[in-house]
């Protein structure tokens, strides 16, 4: 495969940042099809249109996901990328790899694919870019048999579940994100590997409200760690921060001189619900008003820690802006203790998931994310399905509709009435 002139792409190598163009040129020395990636992308830049066709009947036997068909619409000019399928691998929980595992995966991908990877895709998968249809089955065999690695989700499947580092490295983890992620990945193998839903469905697990995997913004089902008692305060450490013994934010912003730490300016005044104050040199918190923004804990990690009654809040329905704009997930279950039963299952989490699925599979339209279904039918309907009593926190502003729509079973005596009896007691 010949080199192509790529004056537009070459511009992308001139900035201060590492460039994928440089990576592709380097990889093309070993894998000449990478010259054709560059050539086709240059053509797309000139034509201002993509030259990839996506989709098709590609996959491996028994699976209905994990591989995304990709073809060039100018295969005669760029035969090296005539087929250029994407393979998604299920990443280990929290993306902990040994370097040996990464080498093995890269070596296998050099053998069967272009060698180009994307670490990681938005759902967390290890994404292997560019292979041909005949290479798929041998690649899959070696992945599963030699590397003990499975494909991830794509299409109308449950997408590869993803979690934050959790308790493996973080003292704020309010539940074991890695174990929940792994357990549910194993529990829902059928849903990950074969289509089941009107559209994609994503799980993400964050151990605390810092939400390091952006579960609230990117997943249909976000499990975000929280606590239901009081923030733990070490008053001696609070004094230490005020005196300057400890660096605020654990040194995260220490590249610049911000002056002396000012607890009023940097913590108390920034609390979104104004639920913190000082009494002399003692820090006070009205925990009933805390919205778990994590700011105070992030600034003074030595002094403040999440409470001890830990669990998770479940939010449902985030999505990217394909229809109606981007949407955050809606808080649905304020607090759930995330614990395993004696069968090794997270039965309470599974129960919530399946209640959502049973409803969405029935009511959701084709290509409609669960968040869009909720928006279409309205939150009250969804809460009724979930058997959740509405809370003030479920709404983002005071009610603007003055009417209350009672259901018949909520009204004493129902809707049937004796009109003559009614007239006797009420003005004509």
């Amino acid at each position: 495969m010949p080199k192509h002139d790529t004056p537009l792409l070459d511009e992308l190598e001139k900035g201060p940042w590492p460039s994928f163009v440089t990576d592709l040129k380097r990889q093309a020395e070993k894998k000449p099809e990478c010259f054709d990636i560059l050539g086709q992308l240059e053509l797309s830049f000139r034509d201002k249109i993509t030259h990839w066709k996506h989709g098709g009947i590609v996959g491996v036997f028994g699976y209905g996901g994990g591989i995304v068909g990709r073809y060039s619409d100018v295969p005669d000019r760029f035969p090296g990328v005539a087929h250029f399928h994407t393979v998604r691998l299920n990443q280990p929980s929290s993306k902990f790899y040994s370097s040996a595992k990464l080498r093995d995966i890269c070596n296998l991908w050099e053998k069967y694919g272009s060698g180009m990877t994307n670490m990681h895709g938005s759902t967390g998968d290890l994404v292997l870019l560019g292979t041909t249809t005949p290479n798929l089955e041998p690649l899959f065999y070696e992945l599963t048999h030699d590397l003990n690695q499975d494909l991830g989700g794509s299409g109308s499947n449950l997408r590869t579940p993803e979690c934050c580092l959790g308790r493996a490295r973080c003292e704020w983890g309010c539940y074991d994100t890695q174990d929940l992620c792994h357990t549910l990945t194993m529990h829902y193998q059928d849903e990950i590997h074969r289509p089941a839903f009107p559209y994609k469905f994503k799980f993400k697990f964050s151990g605390c409200p810092n939400d390091c995997v952006a579960a609230i913004a990117r997943s249909d089902f976000a499990v975000i760690g929280t606590w239901r008692d009081d923030i733990r305060i070490d008053q001696a450490a609070v004094k230490g921060y005020i005196k300057g013994d400890f660096i605020p934010n654990a040194g995260a912003h220490s590249g610049k001189d911000w002056g002396k730490f000012d607890i009023k300016k940097e913590v108390l005044d920034l609390c979104p619900t104004e639920c913190m104050w000082m009494e002399g040199d003692t820090l006070k918190i009205d925990n009933s008003e805390c919205t778990r923004c994590m700011h105070c804990i992030n600034v003074m990690p030595r002094a403040l820690r999440p409470g001890l009654k830990q669990g998770a809040t479940i939010c449902v329905g985030a999505k990217a802006p394909i229809l109606d704009g981007a949407q955050f997930a809606t808080m649905t279950i304020p607090f759930l203790e995330v614990k395993k039963n004696e069968d090794g299952e997270y039965a309470e989490v599974v129960e919530v998931i399946e209640k959502i699925w049973d409803w969405w599979m029935e009511v959701g339209k084709n290509r409609e994310r669960v968040g869009e279904t909720i928006m279409r039918v309205g939150l009250p309907t969804f809460l009724k399905v979930m058997e959740v009593t509405p809370l003030p926190q479920h709404i983002k502003e005071p009610r603007s509709n003055p009417y209350v729509f009672w259901q018949e079973d909520e009204v004493e005596g129902g809707f049937e009435r004796d009109i003559k009896e009614f007239r006797k007691r009420n003005a004509q």
Binding site: I57, R70, A82, S154, P198
Partner: protein, 77 residues
């Protein structure tokens, strides 16, 4: 479920083979047995793929079903 699993599979395959659309969403098969649950329908459709009678067609974000040979691969479009 009004139909047995085999009857449901036959109804799904009939729709995939002779319906006006070559590629169908899983929800398009719900009408094959309105009394069957969505899970029963998707399991029956997925079985037909396993048996080699239907194919998955996926755009990467959505998956559709087609009777073997009815969906055209992007390579040939």
């Amino acid at each position: 479920m009004a139909l047995s699993k085999d009857e449901l599979k036959a109804a799904i395959l009939e729709k995939a083979l002779n319906g006006p659309k070559a590629q169908l969403y899983v929800k398009d098969f719900y009408a094959c047995d309105p009394e069957a649950g969505p899970r029963d329908v998707k399991n029956a459709a997925n079985d037909l793929v396993k048996e080699g009678k239907m194919d998955f067609w996926s755009s990467g974000s959505t998956t559709m079903y087609a009777a073997k040979g009815r969906a055209k691969d992007e390579e040939h479009r």
